[in-house]
Symmetry: C2
Subunit: 289 residues, 2 copies
C-alpha cells in the first residue's frame, strides 16, 4: 500500500476508534445513544478528522492530540446529515447505503440524536485536555463554522434557493457555508492544535476552500453520473436547483474539480511535508462516492 | 417596587438587551436570523440568566460578566422549545401565547433555527471574553448539562415514557435531566463566573435541584389547573403520563412545591446575601404561568 494510503488508514482508524468509544453508557436513555452511534459509525470517510490531524502534524504538533478535535467536527458533520435527511428537509431514506436515522429510530429520536451529537461535539473539544487558551480558540472556531454564519447558514441558503433562481454568487456562497465552513475549520483546527502560525492558518484556509469547491463540484457530478451501488444514496436528483452542474454544466464541472485541486496543492507551499495533503486532494477529486 | 423585584427586572432586562443584539446581520440567510430571534425574544421569564448572574454576584463576582453565560443557557433553552414543539415531537401550535416557530417559518427552518441557537450558545460562551480556564470550565458545564447525559437525555426519557408505565424513579430522573440539568448549570455557571468555592458549587446545585423539582411540579399543576390566557399554551393535557400530578395527585403536588421551595431556601446557607434567591424561590412556587 502507498505510504499516504497507509497514513490515511491510520488517521481514519484513530478517528473511528475514538468515536466508537463514545455514548456507550448503560442508561435509561440508551436508545438515544444507539441512534447517535448508528449514524456516527455508519462508515463515513472521516475526511474532516483526517484533515485536522494531518494539519496538526505538518505544523509540528503531535497528531494524536488533534484526534478529539477532528472527531468533534465529525459529530457536527453527522448531526447535520441526520437533520438534513429528515422528512421536513431532504426526506431521504438512505445514506451511505443504510436506512437514514429517522427511518430506523423515528423522527423525534432523529431530531434528538442530532441535537445530542451537536452538543457532544463541544463537550468533546472542551474536554480534550488541551491547554485552556488553545481549547478556547478551537471552540470559537468550531462554533463559528457550524452556526448561523457557517454551516447552518448554508443549509438555509440551500433551503431558500430551492424557491429562487439562484445565480452563481448565491450558489458559491451556499457551498462555501454549507460544506466549506466545516472543511476550513477542520484544516485550521489542526493548525491551532499545533500552535501554528498565522501564515499556516491562512494556507490551511486556502487549501480548504479549494478542496471544498472541488469536493462539492464532484458531489454534484456524482449526483448526476454516479450510481446507487457506489454512493449508497439516491442519484439523478437533477431537479435540484442549487448545484454547480446546473450552473456550469458537466464538462465545465470536471474542469473545475481539476483546477481547484491544483489550487489546493499550490496552497500547500508553506508546509515542508506536503505529500499526504497533495495525494489527499487528488484522491478526493477522483473519488466515485 | 420591592428591592428584589427591581433586581429581577434589572437582570432580566440585561439578558433581554444582550439577546436582542444577536443575529441582526443583513445577510442572505437573514430569514434564519428572523426565526431564531422570533423564538429567542418571545418573552420568556429569563429565569436561567437571572440565576446565573445572581449566583455570580452572591459569590463576589461582577454580575455583568455572567450575562453572556446566562444568555448562552437561554439560547439552549429556546432551541429545546423550538424542537420540542415540532410536529414529530409535541406538535404544539402555541408557545407563550404566540404561534410556535415552525407554524410561522415552516418545519425545516424551525429545525435549523434550533440547531443554530444551540451552536450560538457555545459561540456566545466561548467568546464572552472571560479568562481561558474559566471559559473552558463554563463550556464543559454548558455542554454536559445540555447533551445526552443532560437535557436531551431527559427529552428521550420523556419520549420513551409515553409508551411505558413510568414509575416514580423514572419520572424523577426524567425531570432531573429534562429541566433540572439546565437549572443546575445556570446556578453553577454563576459560581464559576465568580471563581467561587467547591462548597458554593455544591450549594448552587442543591438550590437548583430543589427549585427545579418545585418548578416542574408547579408546571404539571398549571397544566391541569392553569388557563390558556395566563399560560399562553394549551392546558388540560392530562393524558400525558410523565407528570408529577399523575404520579402523586394534585394535593400532594402542592405540598411538594412548598417543601422543595423550603429546601431550596435552606440550601442557601453558605451565601451571606441570600434575600434575592429566597424571594425568587418563593416567586417561582407561586407563579401562574
Amino acid at each position: 500500500m502507498d505510504d499516504w494510503k497507509q497514513r490515511l488508514r491510520t488517521y481514519a482508524d484513530a478517528a473511528e476508534a475514538f468515536l466508537a468509544e463514545q455514548f456507550t453508557d448503560d442508561l435509561p436513555q440508551k436508545r438515544l445513544f444507539e441512534a447517535m452511534r448508528y449514524s456516527l459509525l455508519a462508515g463515513g470517510k472521516r475526511i474532516r478528522p483526517v484533515l485536522t490531524v494531518e494539519f496538526c502534524r505538518v505544523c509540528g504538533g503531535d497528531w494524536r492530540q488533534a484526534v478529539p478535535f477532528g472527531c468533534a467536527l465529525e459529530m457536527i458533520h453527522t448531526y447535520s446529515l441526520i437533520h438534513d435527511d429528515l422528512p421536513c428537509m431532504d426526506n431521504d431514506d438512505y445514506r451511505r447505503g443504510k436506512l437514514t436515522c429517522h427511518k430506523v429510530y423515528g423522527e423525534a429520536m432523529a431530531v434528538l440524536a442530532g441535537d445530542a451529537l451537536l452538543t457532544a461535539a463541544f463537550e468533546t473539544a472542551a474536554g480534550a485536555g488541551a491547554p485552556a487558551e488553545m481549547t478556547v480558540a478551537v471552540l470559537r472556531m468550531l462554533s463559528a463554522c457550524a452556526g448561523e454564519l457557517g454551516m447552518v447558514g448554508g443549509q438555509v441558503l440551500d433551503l431558500e434557493g430551492e424557491r429562487l433562481e439562484p445565480d452563481a454568487a448565491y450558489i458559491h456562497r451556499l457551498q462555501e457555508l454549507k460544506t466549506g465552513a466545516l472543511l476550513k475549520a477542520a484544516c485550521q483546527m489542526g493548525v491551532l492544535a499545533a500552535g501554528g502560525s498565522q501564515e499556516q492558518l491562512r494556507a490551511a484556509a486556502d487549501y480548504a476552500r479549494a478542496i471544498g469547491l472541488a469536493f462539492q463540484t464532484q458531489d454534484d457530478i456524482l449526483d448526476v453520473e454516479g450510481d446507487f451501488e457506489k454512493l449508497g444514496k439516491r442519484v439523478g436528483m437533477d431537479e435540484k436547483k442549487n448545484t454547480f452542474v446546473r450552473l456550469y454544466g458537466l464538462a465545465r464541472c470536471h474542469e473545475i474539480v481539476r483546477e481547484q485541486t491544483d489550487a489546493a496543492i499550490a496552497a500547500l507551499s508553506p508546509f515542508a511535508d506536503r505529500a499526504f495533503l497533495t495525494e489527499l486532494a487528488n484522491y478526493l477529486a477522483g473519488r466515485e462516492s
